[in-house]
Symmetry: C2
């Protein structure tokens, strides 16, 4: 995955995705003590950066593979992304979703015309069902995060951010399955000027933090976090990239996630999902280290179940 692959990917997917805006907020800058540039993938098609990787993966299928369709398993945004990308490109999509997936995301997948297969919320059950669908239908399996074409695709968000702001000193990403941070780290490596990439994840799903410590891919011990997009674990394709190019992983509490989410909603007037707020929460937790710096924050998505919000009455996030 070299510089040219990232640039080729950007060109390849451009007709099918949005070039999302980069926003700033004076009042959040003041709180952070730094200049923040939010790459707003919540405004991406279907509401998350996953559209980039899904589109890149489908566009590189052979004609025969396209005929067979695609299959994936995902609890959320990648399910919608693959469904919409497949629809846009005239390919059938089969989506394995755990019974625990948020209703708003299931509705999204259905609206995009994909077929949903419900399974138990375990990785084993997901894999088994995706395997059997691939065998039955001839569909090509596309992993949500541990796939080179997906990783390169996800990296185009940071690539666009760096094309607009080439002097960023750091980029913060949430870490779930590792596709976004691996792609972002590649983009920062090829297109940044000594731009350091940091991951942020919940204490309640800190597999990436522990994986970097131990040097091997670790499982999550708990996944009891509001950041539902970050409950997955790293894979053998993205972990080596993360080991090589990511400076560190900052862990945050559930209160910090909700506080950062509320701060973005209140001050920026944009809807971001809890997983996205994790990146800002990570920066705010360690803000003393980044005083006065120019920092990119990848806002990964905005798909929230509005009927289940975590905000308390008369609570002010950052007075």
């Amino acid at each position: 995955m070299n510089k040219k692959e990232l640039l080729d990917c950007q060109k390849r997917i451009a007709p099918y995705i949005h070039k999302t805006p980069v926003l700033s907020s004076r009042s959040i800058n003041k709180i952070a003590g730094a200049m923040l540039f939010f790459k707003c993938e919540n405004f991406q098609r279907m509401g998350a950066y996953k559209m980039r990787g899904a589109t890149n993966a489908i566009l590189q299928l052979t004609d025969v593979q396209r005929q067979g369709g695609v299959v994936t398993h995902s609890s959320g945004n990648f399910a919608q992304a693959l469904a919409l990308a497949a629809k846009s490109l005239g390919v059938n999509a089969h989506i394995v979703m755990p019974t625990s997936a948020p209703m708003v995301k299931k509705i999204g997948v259905m609206e995009y015309g994909a077929r949903i297969y419900e399974c138990e919320p375990t990785l084993k059950a997901r894999n088994a069902m995706a395997d059997s669908i691939a065998k039955e239908t001839g569909a090509t399996f596309i992993h949500p995060s541990n796939d080179e074409k997906v990783i390169v695709g996800q990296g185009t968000a940071a690539l666009e951010l760096l094309m607009d702001h080439d002097d960023l000193e750091a980029i913060f990403c949430p870490v779930g399955g590792g596709g976004l941070i691996a792609g972002s780290a590649l983009a920062a490596n090829y297109f940044g000027k000594n731009c350091k990439v940091y991951g942020a994840e919940p204490f309640e799903a800190d597999d990436a933090y522990r994986s970097l410590k131990s040097g091997k891919i670790e499982d999550n011990i708990t996944v009891n976090t509001i950041a539902d997009g970050l409950r997955t674990t790293l894979g053998d394709k993205n972990f080596p990239i993360i080991q090589k190019h990511v400076v560190g992983i900052i862990r945050v509490t559930e209160e910090e996630i909700i506080g950062a989410m509320r701060l973005i909603w209140e001050r920026m007037k944009i809807i971001v999902e809890p997983s996205s707020a994790v990146a800002l929460a990570g920066l705010l937790r360690e803000k003393e280290k980044f005083k006065g710096q120019k920092i990119g924050i990848i806002i990964s998505g905005g798909n929230v179940d509005l009927g289940k919000l975590p905000f308390k009455e008369n609570f002010n996030s950052y007075p």
Copy 2:
């Protein structure tokens, strides 16, 4: 209030306000059966278009008046707007707010350094307190909506929208005190190509609808609406403009307001306050009349108390 006054105002306030973006949504266009252009004043400084009128009013004070400061009464956005505009311009602000005003708006006013005076939530109590403050302090009273400089200032949002999209066939505005719709109607009259302006208001606060019917300024009978910015009534400065230039007022139910608000939040990933959603709700209610047209929607603001949201669990606004 002629064409030149609007253009002069736009130049005058430009250094102190944001030129807000105009956003569109494919999926909302599909639901509406029209092409909608949302002028996003929720991204305005302090989160609402009121910043425009407040800034314009203060910028036209004499030096002596500036020394004395400004005073207004407002339950919400104009309070914050005058406070922030005054702070930006080095003028003292005295803000009369009813005890019933949302906490998030009181906090905003305090953060901008203005002095808050709490009063009973009646128009009489507000006026009396503002009068006595003006007498004691020498502050100049600036009405939130019934003031020519404020009206012209508010009209610059529609002016900017028409400068970007000069072929709009209609513009929808929420109607509260009448400043926004009067200013928008002037802008459409001077800068549109036969662009019709419609107001939208809750059935629960339908004073403007009844005022246009009767030909005189009517009071609200009820103000039992979630659209807290629209509980006020028209004034003698804006009513004649509305009579002359506004085509009609569409009334909407509380369910329609919440549904339109949820639709904007879910599909556009932006935070808009209930009063803003009223404009889209009005269009959706009468969408058959506007099929295929290019329509501007003024999103008036995004100041919402996140601890008190109206969304129900597992409810899908427009399936």
